[in-house]
Symmetry: C2
């Protein structure tokens, strides 16, 4: 059905002709959005620069600073109507020298890959060595109590459930160990916590991520161990429950640092005071290049504005790309942006976040009223030709979450995430892990949704 249109648009050549006459049908506009994305994609080249020339961008780091300056400049070069920085203060945790760890069993030393969890304290300079108690979850720590835990290293080894088709559900079902394991263990006198990496794959990469220390408990050092390392440790423990584990890490939390959300917008022509946000987070973990998490979401968001501009589309509402700072270890950017919007009485009708990787699109999660969801579902036939079948399943995104209090409808871009946790928070999250076509299709999907919201409101 779409083919005749497609052909016309393709023949017309310059996409800017699409809006030259009477308003084209939505299907024609959406087709032209995908055509523009798939033939003139810029997101992939931008991502190459962000990941390979700037690299990791943990809050407070030099990389984060460079990324702020470069992204601002990039949006200025695109000729957006306004580009500006929003000041925020962010946590400033640094890893320091590379961690060391080994298992000592029957006088055999087995080196295993670990990475300090974000926010963790260092070990003493000589490291920590202790016996290990393996548990499958937080409750088990409470059951073992002081008698089972005191003086030991607690090894949290519950894997992500591989049978969940939605990998984020599997992540959600295991990540409490990383977030709260150290606190649970410390309550009962543990001297350290080692957490199985959050991935379905068996690999040699430790998958870092944040922990939260609880009030009133000692701050014990905590690290992620690679899944292969976890399997090794578990097997050796079965053979020799008295083995010891040694680890040394050198991380520390410095005073909060000044940083920024980076914001660019195209001003609306009819309802400029109604804002539609597309965004991702600019910060990343320090081990890789922050490609899928979340360089892709940032570059896709800028690409959404570029595509609409390239098509000569004049939005009714204001469309704003927001590069949030500090999603990974504080969410200060997301919270700060919602505060800014509130303080300025800005009306945000919708926010779309891409923070599940730059993979082939599958749909959008929606957080809104039933009526709002129903309205979005009336657009379904326009979106399914592009593989967007899963509309309304699941939530939004961490950075846009705080906007919910302003009545903003939240959309989480849902790509195919079967590979996501192969890269997430590791040294493997590099530019090469991103496929150009998959990335472009995601940007086009976000642009198509942005267009429909702009046209019809919510």
């Amino acid at each position: 059905m779409l083919k005749p249109f497609l052909f016309c648009v393709a023949l017309a050549g310059s996409a800017s002709t699409v809006f030259a006459q009477t308003p084209p049908a939505d299907s024609v506009v959406i087709r032209s959005i995908y055509n523009e994305a798939l033939t003139n994609d810029k997101a992939h080249d931008w991502l190459r620069y962000l990941t390979q020339q700037i690299g990791p961008r943990l809050s407070g780091s030099e990389g984060a600073k460079k990324a702020v300056a470069w992204t601002k400049q990039l949006m200025e070069q695109q000729g957006f109507d306004r580009v500006f920085l929003q000041d925020i203060m962010v946590p400033h945790w640094v890893r320091g020298a590379k961690e060391e760890a080994y298992i000592l069993a029957d006088k055999q030393k087995t080196v295993v890959p670990i990475a300090a969890l974000g926010g963790s304290v260092a070990t003493p300079a000589k490291g920590v060595q202790a016996q290990v108690v393996e548990v499958k979850g937080l409750k088990e720590v409470e059951q073992l109590g002081q008698a089972g835990i005191k003086g030991k290293i607690v090894f949290f080894n519950r894997p992500m459930d591989p049978t969940k088709i939605n990998t984020f559900e599997a992540y959600g079902g295991a990540v409490d160990q990383r977030g709260s394991g150290a606190t649970f263990a410390a309550k009962f006198g543990a001297v350290g916590a080692i957490v199985r990496s959050m991935t379905n794959a068996l690999d040699d990469f430790p998958h870092t991520g944040s922990l939260r220390y609880g009030p009133g408990v000692p701050l014990i050092p905590a690290a992620a161990i690679s899944t292969n390392g976890a399997e090794k440790l578990s097997a050796l423990l079965k053979a020799n429950p008295a083995l010891t584990f040694y680890f040394k890490q050198n991380c520390e939390s410095l005073p909060d640092a000044p940083s920024h959300n980076v914001i660019g917008e195209i001003r609306g022509s009819e309802k400029p005071d109604e804002i539609i946000v597309v965004g991702g987070h600019l910060d990343s973990w320090d081990l890789g290049q922050g490609a899928h998490d979340d360089g892709t979401g940032c570059m896709q968001s800028i690409e959404v504005l570029r595509i609409l501009k390239a098509l000569g589309y004049k939005p009714k509402r204001t469309i704003r790309a927001v590069m949030y700072m500090n999603e990974e270890n504080g969410l200060r950017g997301g919270v700060g942006y919602a505060d800014y919007a509130k303080k300025n009485n800005e009306k945000h009708i919708a926010a779309i976040e891409s923070d599940e990787g730059g993979f082939t699109p599958r749909g959008f999660g929606i957080v809104g009223t039933d009526a709002q969801k129903a309205k979005v579902l009336t657009w379904r036939n326009l979106l399914t030709p592009y593989g967007l079948h899963e509309i309304g399943v699941g939530g939004g995104g961490a950075d846009i979450g705080p906007l919910a209090q302003l009545g903003t409808v939240l959309f989480g871009f849902k790509p195919d995430t079967q590979r996501y946790f192969d890269y997430h928070h590791t040294a493997a999250d590099r530019f090469e892990a991103v496929n150009k076509r998959e990335l472009s299709l995601g940007a086009a999907s976000m642009a198509a949704l942005t267009y429909l919201i702009d046209q019809y409101g919510l």
Copy 2:
């Protein structure tokens, strides 16, 4: 809705308990199929062996021979009810020494990567050097006629259309150049044909594949040039239309060789004479390891039978895994298998092929009557929780195509193919390009469909 079932099955531990009592609901069986695939997958390890230990498997090669023997042994080890070889004769084309090619313009020599097309003749020993005429398609050759073509190398440079969401549609829209370019060019006196590789990506891999010489025209040598090479050649031609292109290739067609389809089956308990085929092709191009094309389809097909066996499922109908030989340059396996079925009066009710890569499942194409398609669509609610939204779109697969004459309903497994043509027919089609979870999900999807067909017929 499925969650309580899921939990029960998971807790029950051994999947073989699923069929111990009264017949479970279809949703429970399908959940148990995915659980088995995602926790005990064997396809990935098998694929590692096939690709890394055996490697490329072009018809008639040593690799193909080894793959036949190993696959037979593998199915025997799985304890299938019958495992056997079907004799077929196959084309035996060999590449010989690596090709050489360069552009000679303004005394500058620019080396470009090429690969002889399968079935092509060699160049003379000293190579071919001639001026180049660039065309965007076959018709253009006819328009240029002898005056424009004679004594030249025709350079077919129409890219795959990047705006097609379905990459196979884009492939279908460009591949006539590879299949028939040499014949069209030879008709008008060309001395060689160079074809832009079939991929949306810009890369340095020539993407090989078969050509067909037409009757009564000279056999001229033809090669694929990498897309980066094609861009370079096109740019240099614009600056200097009189440049020359040199290439040398050493391929030849040997006499047909004996080979085999490899077949394993689980016998049906109620209607053993009704056969359901799951299959892929065992042969592959010679440049890579034949991972996505089509090691994945073969290993998934054996995995389907393994999964059903592991669950203790006793099929009503006979379920047969067929590893077809010679899909790439002759289809002798597919044609021979249909002949075999016809000769033996075998009733094949359905055939499922996986030959679009081992990526995340999106659905199944169906070739059958409207009533048969409608019946399959009644199963939709059982399949969409696993991401199988696209049911009935598109066709089956090359190897199973000849079964259509027996009234067999054909199903093409449809994974997400956005990355497929990054690997297809190149040195990059290696084991590392396959993601374990994505592969498992595909095998589970094929097993789920097999189960439903077995239960309810077509």
